[in-house]
Amino acid sequence: MKLADLAEELSLKVLTYNEGTSREVSGCYISDMLSDVMANSKKGDIWITIQAHTNILAVANLKNLSGIIVVNGREVDDETLKRAGAEKVTILSSSLSAFEVAGKIYKMIM
C-alpha cells in the first residue's frame, strides 16, 4: 500500500518530504535502537520509533525504508526536519502509541 494512503487512514501528519508518500509500504519495523533497525529492518518497511534526532535520517536512507512514524506525539528536532528533504526521508507523526499505530498498520498490510 502507498504511504499516502496509510497516512490518511491513520491520520498521520506528514512532517517532511511529501514526495516520499508515493512510496510503497511493504512492512513495518518497530525499535528505538538504531543498530537494531540497521540489522533487522527491510527495504520498504515503515519504521515506528520515538527517536527524533538527525541520525534517524541516515538509518532510513541507508536501509531504503519507506518512511518514519514518530509516535507518542514526540517533537522532532528542528535540525532533523530541516535535513530530511535533502536525505529524501518522509517523517510522519502520530499522537498514538507505537502499539496502536502498529496494530492499525498490521491490519492494513498483512
Binding site: D32, M33, L34, S35, D36, M38, A39, K43, T49, Q51, H53, T54, N55, I56, L57, A58, V59, N61, L62, K63, N64, E79, E87
Partner: protein
Amino acid sequence: MENSCQIIGGDFSRASEVSMQLKRELIALELHEDIVSRACTAAFEAEMNVIIHAAAGWLRYYITPDKLRIVIEDMGPGIKDIELAMKEGYSTAPDWVRKMGWGAGMGLPNIKKNSDEFKIDSVAGEGTSLEIIINLDKNKGDKK
C-alpha cells in the same frame, strides 16, 4: 577507485556523511542494491563507532571489479577484549549515547554479518582498525 574520508569523534551531527558518500559512489557504479545496503550498513556502524568512542578516525575504501574493501582506523581508546566486544549486546557506550538509540552492542556484530571477510585489530590505548571486504558479484547481492 579509492577514497579517504576523515571522521571526527563526538560529531553526531555529521554522522553518516561518510557512509552516504560511499552509498552515492556505489550506486553510481550500478552495483546490486543488496551489496550497496550491506556495504553502507557496515560502513555506517563503523563510522558511528568512531564517532561514539574515538577522537578521530579515517574511513578509506578501495573498489576493484571484484572486491570492495573498506578500512576504518581510529585514534580511540582501543578495545581491551575483542572477543567480548564482538558479543551482541555488549557495549561500553555512555548513557547519553544509549538514549540516542546507539550503544545496543550490535555495531561490530552487524559489521561482521554484512561482510564477506572481516578483520579487527586493536591496541588498548592506541586505537582500532577494521577491514571489511565485500565481494562484488552483481548477480548475487544477498548474503544470508
